[in-house]
């Protein structure tokens, strides 16, 4: 069996039916920009959450504000979810333009719901698919809200599959309240119109129903970007700087509303360099500070990342990764900024790279990012991605009392004469803030002595470089969150980072269901590499396979460069997240 796992052609390819063996329901809403796909998806997500269901969604759009394909997929279940699913049960088409790429995902028995205003377009549905044409556009017009065909669709979904109309209404009212009573009224009429149409004109010919929810422990519903903002606030972040960039902007949007409540400030910078410069300046002055960006802005920040490392200023840099180099695929998914996070900035630059694996991590790993930046006085890079940014997930309400917040080692006025960069066993030197008498010093990116004076004397650079790296020497012992799952020993050990964790988790569940011994490791600290955890994991499995969404196998390379592990790679870079099927359904995990 172990050998089979690695190279066999006897792979259970027929096991795709395993996909169907769960109690979740998956709905995919499709349209073009402006159709209201995102809004409808979020309303349906909230409505299902209010019914006591676990909900996990995945969303993607084109770069254009109007036009371009938009997709929102949500999965609802009475039990825990780790992905939004690699199958679809119900596809809702708000625009026929969005049809083509997704029809092939429909299998016998699946449902296709579409706006029959497009009936003039010849449609060839896959055989066995149950299709329900609904005149969504006309029903919206009849309700007095011509653009509300997305809300009509919600009414249809409620009536056909059992989503709670009351909860949809609650969510709609909340979102539309600011737009005035007539907008609320016409949208509620559109909702009722959709539901009524089903009762009067359709006969249910499929077998899908929303599972029954139940009261759960205290739960919050968050997008990944909201969760990062929340984690930052919990960690004590009081300054955030940004320049608009997809898919990071919604972190700033959320913080713009919430940071000031805590006395924090948010600054719109003129470019990515200014954005990090602002955060470093704020941190030098004593505030816990962060900047958020995506790949192109992250590139611009590299020089200042080196500065923060050299001047030993704590700062958190969020890179919500998107696909491709250069402008690439600005709204799409990839995990290809690891090299630039780990190896970017010239010179020997001590820094830490973290990656959250899900929305829950977006809260807690962000807290950890601040704690590490403050503890070690260096730049910490938080690598999120486009999938985490937009997805919504019902997660356990974070327990504030259980969240540990770390502050920088403060300067004590009796430490005179103050030597900002004095050598210590840990490499961490007390840090003063402007306004503190006796703490005056120059934060500089020039190589310097312990007293912050420039020096290029032989020995100084080596000693100071060692001092700065000394801070990381005990990192893995002091903090290196790593999750492992699967049997204690296994033929294959999957390693993933960032949001690929979800697909790997789901694949591991399926391997387990068919009796195949596959384990998995999910490091959250990527750099410095958690060598001990990786080495121990590698010893417990036959073959390490690193699964990631980039061409080069960047994390596999980082592992190979720093350990004796020689991982195999599963790499996919299509601009969409990996799915469990991409792993579970492979003929071999080593090709």
């Amino acid at each position: 069996m172990p050998e089979d796992l690695l190279s066999s052609t006897a792979w259970p390819l027929g096991s795709r039916q395993l996909n169907q063996l769960d109690d979740s329901l998956i709905v995919r809403l499709m349209g073009v920009g402006g159709d209201g796909v995102m809004t409808a998806g979020r309303v349906l997500t909230e409505a299902a959450a209010l019914s006591g269901l676990e909900v996990l969604s995945e969303a993607t759009c084109s770069a254009e504000v109007r036009g371009g394909e938009t997709m929102y997929q949500l999965r609802v279940s009475p039990s825990t979810l780790v992905t939004a699913g690699d199958r679809v049960d119900i596809v809702v088409l708000l625009d026929h333009e969005a049809d083509l790429a997704h029809r092939e995902d429909l299998l016998t028995g699946d449902v296709l719901l579409y706006d029959s205003v497009h009936d003039a377009v010849p449609r060839a549905h896959p055989p066995g698919v149950v299709s329900y044409p609904v005149p969504m556009t006309q029903l919206a017009e009849a309700a007095g809200a011509a653009i509300a065909k997305n809300v009509v669709a919600l009414g249809v979904l409620a009536e056909l599959f059992g989503f709670s109309l009351t909860n949809i209404e609650t969510s709609l009212r909340k979102r539309l309240a600011a737009k005035g009573g007539h907008v609320v009224a016409s949208n509620l009429a559109a909702l009722a119109g959709g539901a009524r149409y089903v009762k009067e004109h359709l006969v249910k010919r499929d077998s899908f129903l929303v599972p029954v929810g139940s009261a759960r422990d205290e739960t919050v519903l968050l997008t990944g970007n909201e969760a990062i903002g929340l984690g930052a606030l919990m960690a004590g972040c009081r300054f955030y700087a940004h320049y608009p960039i997809t898919p990071a902007t919604s972190v700033a949007d959320w913080l713009a509303t919430h940071l000031p409540l805590l006395g924090g400030k948010i600054c719109a910078a003129e470019d990515g360099m200014a954005s990090l410069g602002l955060a470093i300046g704020a941190s030098y002055a004593g505030a816990k500070a962060m900047t958020g960006t995506s790949g192109p802005g992250f590139d611009l920040m590299q020089e200042l990342i080196g500065y923060a490392s050299m001047a030993e200023v704590p700062v958190v840099i969020l890179d919500v990764q998107r696909a491709g180099p250069s402008t690439g695929l600005p709204t799409k998914y990839e995990q290809a900024d690891l090299f630039s996070a780990v190896y970017g900035a010239h010179g020997d630059v001590p820094k830490i790279v973290l990656a959250p694996g899900d929305v829950h991590d977006c809260v807690h790993v962000t807290v950890e990012a601040f704690n590490l930046a403050e503890r070690y006085q260096l730049p910490v890079i938080l690598l999120s991605d486009a999938s985490l940014a937009l997805r919504e997930h019902t997660i356990p309400r974070p327990d504030l009392a259980a969240i540990k917040v770390v502050d920088r080692v403060p300067f004590q006025p009796d430490q005179a004469p103050y030597s900002r960069y004095r050598f210590t066993d840990s490499g961490v030197s007390p840090m003063s803030a402007p306004g503190q008498p006796g703490g005056e010093y120059v934060a500089t990116g020039l190589e310097h002595t312990g007293s912050a004076f420039p020096s290029d004397a032989p020995g100084t650079h080596q000693a100071m470089t060692d001092k700065r790296f000394q801070k990381l020497a005990r990192l893995e012992d002091e903090c290196s969150p790593v999750e492992r799952e699967g049997p204690p020993s296994a033929a294959v050990g999957l390693v993933s980072w960032g949001s690929t964790q979800g697909a790997v988790r789901e694949a591991v569940r399926r391997f387990d269901a068919i009796g195949m011994p596959v384990a998995a490791l999910y490091p959250k600290v990527l750099w410095p590499l958690p060598v001990k955890a990786l080495t121990a994991f590698a010893r417990s499995v036959g073959q390490v396979v690193v699964v990631e969404a980039n061409r080069q196998g960047q994390f596999a390379d980082v592992i190979a460069a720093s350990t004796s592990i020689r991982p195999k790679r599963v790499t996919l870079y299509r601009g969409v997240p990996l799915t469990a099927w991409d792993i579970f359904g492979r003929e071999s995990l080593t090709h």
Partner: protein, 280 residues
């Protein structure tokens, strides 16, 4: 060789300055220290933020807090400092390359925001540390010389002055006024580089360069007049060219709001409540 010894004040350290003999930057540094002392600012409450280059070496001569940043990014760093703690006195300094070349974008947008920062541009028309290549303000360079005052006026700086390193009392007075200005105040300091540009620098003259005094007769709030003075042919002008008041950047105003721990917890719980799922 460092020979210019600057006057001792509460802001400056003892010892030799790092500039060449005759460098204007040593004089600008002395003048800055004197103006800070005269303004009643304590080194503990002052942060001087620079880019890099000959001019930016002033940070290591100071007794105050300072950031010796990276080339071109002094203004964002300084704005971050001021936003995090508006009670601090934040002075930005650097060369003309920092201001008008690598950091020009920041200059324009900081001027638009109008934070309470004082920016001293030590303008020697060259990149001294890399052996005197012409900078954007160089009148003998290959390309059209940028009019420093014109750019500052166009970008929206609310205090624009020009001074000369060889006229220290006037420079000190202008810096003092800049430090008291409620908004983004900029003093462009003509500061010749004797090592690379002697005899061809500020006005092509050998010896003490000529300047013309702006005087105090004109309406300081008349931007079109200020532009006409800035763009007038002939030797450079010195004096206060333009001064208006405009709402300051809100982020850099007021004292930092600090909550008690229990208040922070209550606020965070309220934020979580916004995202709470209440089953129905």
């Amino acid at each position: 060789m460092p020979t210019a010894v600057h006057a001792r004040t509460t802001f400056s350290r003892d010892g030799d300055a790092p500039w060449c003999r005759g460098c204007g930057h040593a004089d600008v540094f002395d003048v800055l220290c004197r103006a800070l002392v005269a303004s009643g600012i304590r080194p503990t409450d002052a942060v001087v933020v620079t880019g890099v280059g000959c001019s930016s070496l002033i940070t290591f001569q100071l007794r105050s807090y300072a950031m010796h940043g990276v080339h071109g990014r002094a203004l964002p760093l300084a704005l971050g400092v001021k936003a995090a703690n508006p009670d601090l006195h934040v002075v930005v300094a650097g060369g003309d390359g920092d201001a008008f070349s690598i950091g020009a974008n920041h200059l324009i947008h900081t001027a638009r925001k109008n934070p309470r920062l004082t920016y001293l541009i030590m303008d020697n028309q060259s990149y001294g540390m890399t052996m005197g290549q012409p900078s954007p303000t160089n009148v003998h360079g290959e390309h059209h010389a940028l009019n420093a005052l014109g750019v500052l006026l166009a970008a929206g700086a609310t205090f624009v002055a020009q001074a000369a390193s060889w006229r220290p009392d006037e420079a000190e007075a202008l810096i003092g006024q800049a430090l008291g200005h409620p908004g983004f105040s900029v003093v462009n300091l003509l500061s010749p580089c004797p090592t690379f540009h002697h005899g061809e620098g500020i006005d092509g003259a050998i010896g003490i360069p000529l300047v013309r005094e702006i005087g105090s007769e004109h309406d300081l709030g008349d931007r079109l007049h200020a532009l006409s003075v800035a763009f007038a042919e002939g030797v450079p002008c010195v004096g206060l060219l333009y001064r208006v008041e405009r709402p300051m950047y809100a982020l850099t105003e007021g004292s930092a709001l600090v909550h008690e721990q229990w208040e922070e917890t209550a606020i965070l719980e309220a934020l979580l409540d916004e995202h709470r799922v209440v089953w129905t």
